[in-house]
Symmetry: C2
Subunit: 318 residues, 2 copies
Amino acid sequence: MNLERAAAFIQSHQFFYLAAHQSPDGDTLGSCLALREALLLLGKDAAVVCPDRVPPVLDFLAGADTVTGTDGIEPPKEAVLYIDCADHKRTGALRETLETAPYQFCIDHHGTNPRESKDGDWVEEVSATGELILRLIKALNVPMNKTIATALYTAITTDTGNFSYGNTSPESFEAAAKLLGYGIDLPELNRVLFREMPVSKAKLIAYTLSHMELFEGGRLNLCAIPLDALAACSATKEDCEGLIDWLRDIDTVEAACVLRESDGCVRVSMRSKRYCDVAAIAKRFGGGGHVRAAGCTLYLPLEEATAVMREALTEALQ
Amino acid sequence: MNLERAAAFIQSHQFFYLAAHQSPDGDTLGSCLALREALLLLGKDAAVVCPDRVPPVLDFLAGADTVTGTDGIEPPKEAVLYIDCADHKRTGALRETLETAPYQFCIDHHGTNPRESKDGDWVEEVSATGELILRLIKALNVPMNKTIATALYTAITTDTGNFSYGNTSPESFEAAAKLLGYGIDLPELNRVLFREMPVSKAKLIAYTLSHMELFEGGRLNLCAIPLDALAACSATKEDCEGLIDWLRDIDTVEAACVLRESDGCVRVSMRSKRYCDVAAIAKRFGGGGHVRAAGCTLYLPLEEATAVMREALTEALQ
């Protein structure tokens, strides 16, 4: 049992760095902060480290303000636990420092994990690393509390798209059932994680939905976003995430495409619902991805890029 | 045990009408259609009846095309089961016909249910009536299948706002865990239930987000929608549902207000997040609702109505 090895690793050490991956998400930070709380309750010394800053949407997590970045990090005294890191590279600028630790163990749910941590690993392909941390905390006999439950619920709900992605399993729901009993404020948590947005993002969604163009009897949905529109919305890179989903979600649409003008190029995102292979199209233009979600970069003016993608997608829909 | 009485009621009859409530939602229709499938598997005769048509978003439910409305309904031969109906009135135009049934029983989760069905009722305040039907189907020893699981999952996820409302309980998640094991296509189901929308709705959201106005340092968010804007979007009444949530979801906002011009009046919806009592404001203008969600109707031109609501809300935010 890898769970037992993880528990034994924790029991045999006192000082821990819990390493979150770069571009941190709800699963890596929720898992790290839940485990930190549990280790503190066990009388151990634990600090969460992450090469990038905590995104504002996750600021509410208890202990988020204690997460240490590259500035002023001390070399690890004893043990490093890589949490939700698909490999050590995912610790970015912290990698070299972390790999000097005398003891290193990894807990992760990515099937591709190379299992490179020198004292072992627990890799199991569940919906979220948060599910593994829940089992670990139970194995360590730490009493569950609202802080831990909220952090682990955040881990699981963000990695499953609030229980909507294909990775959602009966165990994801069972974990949620257990955690909800500890006083999580579910309406507030859902609002913060999935609904609240800055004005800039709302304006960008409005732009996208007013400028989208439907072709092929509504099966193709395209929107080109020029630099000046992004500037007019004061849109950040984060605001652009998920825009493509809005285009795909129009009921008649099979394939959707967002073309975002950038410095000297156009970033193209594509999505499809049931039959259109957008990965094949992305590949033709030097990009890649999955059959239902892919992207590429075109070094063309926005208008030309739009015409090129429209033609390729129209052809694919025949 | 009311569950046992419900099971006994079903076992002692052969012909059933399963009555869904007017303005049918995912819980009443999902529960009725799941129970219909189970009764058919038991060799019984069951038909779902509903005074209003099945909304397009729920058309995908197996058996949705068999739901009978007021046209051509035969008088009930034997038993009526009121499902998710807070009272008999909720069966609208079918009420008189249904109340002629020799045997009548009610299964519902609304605490206010007057328990008026003559052969008894099973009223329990769980998150969704679908949770009760899941228990009932198990008690009847009907083997679970994908059709029943999809209908019951739809019932629970729609009544809990995909597990985000305050009524969501550990039991809601446990029910989901059980049902997911029977082959539900979770990504597709979530897209259909919560994301897909017609172009008209997307255009109306775009209008709202581009015309919203923030006041009081971003705490108040107001949008007035004139009749000609609704016409330009070809917006239906259904498209207007949920618009107010978009305004509330801006991160700085405490109180949000949508003013929708109608024939000779203005429909006002208000929402708040943490401290503003919008019910008190609605009441002042002859409306009502809850502290965090309320509404009223003003018989004023749109511009004047907007000024009036802005003033009232600004005052409430002091």
